[in-house]
Amino acid sequence: MPTERPQAPFNRRDCRVAESHAAGGYRIFTLIDEEGPEPAPGQFYMLTTSGAAPGFAGRPFLPRAISVARVTGSRGSLRLEFLIDEVGPGTVQMAKLGSGDSCGLAGPFGSPFSMPKELNPDAVGAVLVGGGIGIAPMAVLRRHLVSRGVPTRTLLGFRDQAHSGGVDELFGCEETRLAYEDGSSGHRGYVTDLLLQILTGDDTGGAVIYTCGPPAMLEAVRVLAAGHGVPVELALESPMACGFGACFGCVVPKTGGGYLRLCVDGPVVRGDEITTAMAGEAAVGVEKDVRTRSE
């Protein structure tokens, strides 16, 4: 049961690109939203670029779900910063946008993170665990918690320098602990090593965990948290077509059977709402029958 969620204007609106620049292996670009409400931490937008990407016949066709990484300004002239990892035609087209260009925006959508006390009445602090591009929602959440006086520790993990970026800009000088799998900086290894130290180290009675990142990392965090009886909220991903509950495409299996639509029931879910954070990979196991009915 996530906290009150801001509602989106009923439209897809053209927003002006204020700025775009490379940030490590990623890119940060900023849209000016003159209409929408301030999004809550964990919410995302559906971004639409015009035209297809060179080399990708007729793609992107659908909008792309992107978490907001930082929000400044106020309603009427919100500055929305997005952290982009160029992995395919959608993000390639976004990365091409420069100051003055326009980009289609719908949202904010989805469920926000809960406040620590909503997850654990005795909560005294929060541990944020971000991985790769998944650090974006952690950045918004950290600012949100810190501004409300919640003691917050931030752990960020990356594969290597090429797959990291935006840390200094989005987390500033704040004390964050980094892990690089290739050891190029910070702890050599997984960010979950750092989490384990915390969980085993000090008293975790008053801790609450928030996390976003690649499925394998999320699953490790989910299992660690469960093992230590610490409440956790995860921001999940799945391929989305609409972002507002229309297509039923963005599902992950939910505890007790059935599925959650990540765009409306998520993307933020409690650890106990799901049985695995690696649902995407699930497809592989399943027995396939090529002649299914059409909808």
């Binding site: 066709f61 609409c242 229309a246 992950v252 649902a279 592989v284 396939k288 029958d289 909808e295």
Partner: protein, 305 residues
Amino acid sequence: MNLATDLCGIPLASPVLNGSGTFDAIAARRAFGDAVIEEFPFAAYVSKTITRHPRAGNPPHRLWETPSGMINSIGLPNPGLDDFLTGILLEFTRLPVPLIVSVMADSAEEFAELVEAVSAVSGVAGIELNVSCPNVHSGLIVGEQPVETEALMKALRPLTDLPMIIKLTPNVANPHEVAAAAEAGGADAISLINTLKSMAIDPANGRAWLGAGAGGLSGPAVRPVALAQVRAVSQAVEIPVVGMGGIDDAESALDFILAGARVVAVGTENFRDPRAGINVKNGLEGALGRRGFASLADAQASTLS
């Protein structure tokens, strides 16, 4: 311009409906608030297909983006008839537009249960029969067989006074034969096209991407196929046709009307723009003018040479 029309007796403020399963009015209200109700984007609301018993739907992945289109393999998740009747159906009946309930079953008996139950609810304006499904007795896909289709319609016709729209699958050689059989069986309208059987390969591991192995193609990529089927069907039947398949603006909507559709439905484009239905409706006056039509009725009456 007055865009009012009707579909087998159901009065419509415009000829723009939604495709079943492409707009969840309740989820949209959660995301957008009451604005969705105040500016409801369609002249009638077609519910996502419901079945006799609850369905969880297919395992992920359920979506794949294709050149100018997408494949879906959703698997008809729905609460089942009983919960539908006591739950979301009541919310749907409070929408500001006529309600058309889409139903699917694996047997004439289950179809009958669904049709009778839905007909008993006041506030339902029509029923859409999704027949892209196997008959558990014959094993045949009803919508692929004129004989099965006519038999089903004949069995259901006595059970309701509501208009029955039959939604055809495009995965057949001659959709107009299935349409003619549906008309002979007592259908009040034909809607098409549903999605085209498709599949996708996972670029990472070379396996089938979709959890169910395959799915259905929709979006502008299929529009030329939909137009041809809408034309073939509308030439073969007297009853009105609901045309859909890749409509993404007023021009493409008008193409379907000129091909023989009385009204149109917007599906996949809703995902790209929640106001797609409104945009199509608002663009129709200009599109009609550019093609030299004085009114929607003129376009609906024009027969393609």
